[in-house]
């Protein structure tokens, strides 16, 4: 019977109001709604949703606990597999993972697993987090490089097994993309820091301001007494288009734009001293989640018109449907089948416009998406003050360049065994975006977890 109930919407901030502030857009389920939504779950004997979760959270069980109003227990069940549920509940692409597998989704709408995960996690945070239990100290030490989701998860799992863990992070705060990339209005930074504090409570030491490859190296870490090293340095190198005008003032990479706003809190200028400028018209080049985040940030920073400029059509947009919808609702305009060939500037070197070409779709290419074909002679000019380039990121070479014997692939990502995450150097493991190229939070966490399991095995033999 319960399954006949429609999926519950999650309250959100009004679209017009939220376009002017950086507060979280999605507000989370109120308690009674969460219980009702949890009641929709059929409690399948052979749950397919679990198979859809990259870290194998026992989804039916935690949902059952919500129906029983045992919310803290629900959170504990999630945390057995996923130590950052308040984050994952907010940013995981559930529609293509657990929820895509839900039986209810065949005829109607799947159970809102992500929203329930977020509910349980937020409930626990509000009550004060419970510290996960750690095993007795083993006396073994592991260094983790990078405090993004991959590194944090690996560190937490290793601490749980009783190893001494130190994280080396290049920036002044831990969190990786969760802190510098994903905006406040989608993932409040206070939530990220609370989940990270959970790790510190477990005894994980986090050293910030440590650029590995500069102040120390993988080899030096091994020589200085660490029994193993995990590399989770992410895909932090912004790609540009190599078109004329790309170095004009007012052309930002999405990383720079988002880092200024999120990590450095430029939206609160001059209370925070880092500046950011958007002008009246902003063009964001690209159609992924990063592009949506940049576009929505630009609106909130006061831009009048914000355009997503994308070479293909709406169906090919790589961003999550929910994010595209959010962006549209807030007033972001989509210029599809369009892309710039040149950025033009004024005498001060500031961006003033872009020359774009129109495109049409051809046959599907290797990626399975239709290939965009430029229409000859279709040049036209769009006047803009700011351009944000959001066309992807590659692996940052600071660690890989300085680690002798570390096997890489052509793109510069680290070659690691799919199951063990072992690299070509004994005792050195890697995972997350530095191995896969830009992917997702939960995939990075899954990799961190797998690596921790093999590091455990490796340390037992040492």
């Amino acid at each position: 019977m319960a399954s006949k109930m429609p999926r519950h919407d999650m309250p959100r901030q009004d679209a017009l109001a939220r376009g002017n502030n950086f507060q979280e857009v999605a507000l989370g389920y109120p308690l009674e709604v969460a219980v009702q939504e949890a009641n929709r779950c059929l409690q399948c004997k052979k749950p397919k949703c679990v198979a859809g979760c990259p870290v194998g959270v026992d989804i039916p069980k935690f949902i059952q606990k919500i129906t029983e109003r045992e919310f803290l227990e629900a959170a504990q069940i999630i945390k057995r597999k996923n130590l950052l549920p308040a984050i994952c509940g907010r940013v995981c692409p559930q529609e293509s993972q657990c929820e895509a597998q839900c039986i209810l989704g065949v005829k109607g709408e799947p159970v809102a697993i992500g929203r329930l995960e977020r509910f349980a996690a937020d409930y626990e945070i509000a009550q004060g987090c419970c510290k996960p239990e750690c095993q007795a100290p083993t006396g073994k030490k592991v260094a983790v490089i990078g405090a993004g989701p991959a590194g944090l998860t690996c560190a937490a799992e290793l601490a749980r097994s009783g190893h001494g863990v130190t994280i080396y992070e290049a920036l002044h705060v831990a969190g990786g993309v969760l802190m510098y990339g994903i905006p406040e209005f989608r993932l409040p930074k206070a939530i990220v820091q609370k989940e990270i504090n959970g790790l510190k409570d477990m005894g994980v030491e986090i050293k910030v301001n440590q650029v590995v490859g500069k102040v120390t190296s993988v080899q030096e870490l091994l020589d200085s007494g660490y029994d193993a090293v995990f590399i989770g340095t992410g895909a932090g190198l912004p790609h540009f288009l190599n078109i004329p005008g790309e170095n004009l003032c007012g052309v930002y990479s999405a990383n720079e734009f988002l880092t200024r706003s999120n990590l450095m809190k430029a939206y609160d200028f001059p209370n925070h001293i880092t500046p950011i400028k958007v002008g009246e018209r902003v063009a964001v080049l690209g159609g992924g989640n990063v592009a949506m985040d940049a576009a929505r940030t630009a609106l909130r920073l006061g831009a009048k018109d914000v355009y997503i400029i994308y070479r293909r059509s709406k169906t090919e947009l790589p961003a999550r449907a929910e994010e595209v919808e959010n962006a549209e609702e807030e007033g972001v305009k989509f210029h599809l089948l369009t892309f710039p060939v040149e950025i033009l500037g004024n005498e001060k070197g500031n961006v003033k416009s872009m020359v774009c070409l129109r495109y049409e779709l051809g046959e599907p290419d290797e990626s399975g998406r239709c290939k965009p074909l430029a229409i000859k002679g279709s040049e036209f000019e769009i006047s803009v003050d700011t351009v944000v380039v959001a066309v992807g990121q590659g692996p940052n070479p600071l660690v890989t360049m300085t680690t002798k014997g570390l096997a890489l692939d052509k793109r510069g990502t680290i070659l690691a065994d799919k199951e063990t995450m072992a690299t070509s150097i004994p005792g050195v493991y890697a995972g997350g975006d530095i191995v896969t190229g830009a992917a997702t939070v939960i995939q990075a966490m899954g990799a961190g977890k797998k690596a921790a399991a093999s590091i455990n095995k490796y340390l037992a033999t040492k």
């Binding site: 650029v211 500069k214 102040v215 200028f269 880092t274 400028k277 600071l398």
Partner: protein
Amino acid sequence: MYTVVKRRVLAEAIVLLEILAPDVANKAQAGQFVIVRQMHNSERIPLTIMDFDRQKGTVTIVLQAVGYSSKLLTEMEEGDNLLDFVGPLGQPTEIKNYGTVLCVGGGVGVAPIHPIARALRDAGNKVISILAAKNKDLIILEEEMKAVSDEIVITTDDGSYGLKGFATHGVQAVLDRGLEISAIWAIGPMIMMKSVADFTKPLGIKTLVSMNPIMVDGTGMCGACRVLVGQETKFACVHGPEFDGHLVDFDLAMKRSAYFRQEEAIALHEHKCQCQKEGK
């Protein structure tokens, strides 16, 4: 936390700070820089290293109060702490025996020139250093530079000390003596580096400059520090900060540096209002 163990005023609005940062001191090399964040709401700003002492575990930087952040840094006292101090970043200077070399420092650019001159001299080069500034009061680190150079030449715009003229006049004066110069390092304001590079280009003398563009992370993650070098886009924080001065597009670099000038003025203004309110 990184403690200021020594503060010295070098000239009006120019201050030297010696910072306790043993890890950074341990790895620092000539030509590299650090990123500093003073307080929780501060910017991350890049500063080229002036000196490092591996025994004491300290790194020395020199600041000129221009914008809000640098002004606040110059007001730090001994015993105060910096929140963040990251480094050493960027590529070190390529040190080898070139023969006779020129180390040209303009204004506060003398600070980053200092460890380069020392390393070059230690590598067996004959080092002639040129210190250039607007006037006598703004010539800094003269004793320190004497200690690491075979000879120093001073130029001031107004002629109040040394030769009258710009850094290029100093270079000209040395070349007029018929010396064969194998390489030149020129560090200082963008306009000064550009004029030295323009001056040496027709003469075919290898000229290295140290770019100090706007940066955010300093690790290659954001691209704010893009400079155009020989038609190729480079990230100054990773590939630099030192580049072949004959290939750098200085005009673009100067424009990019000026992009946030308005915001800097706003920050400074707010700061002044705040201080007045607090009766400072």
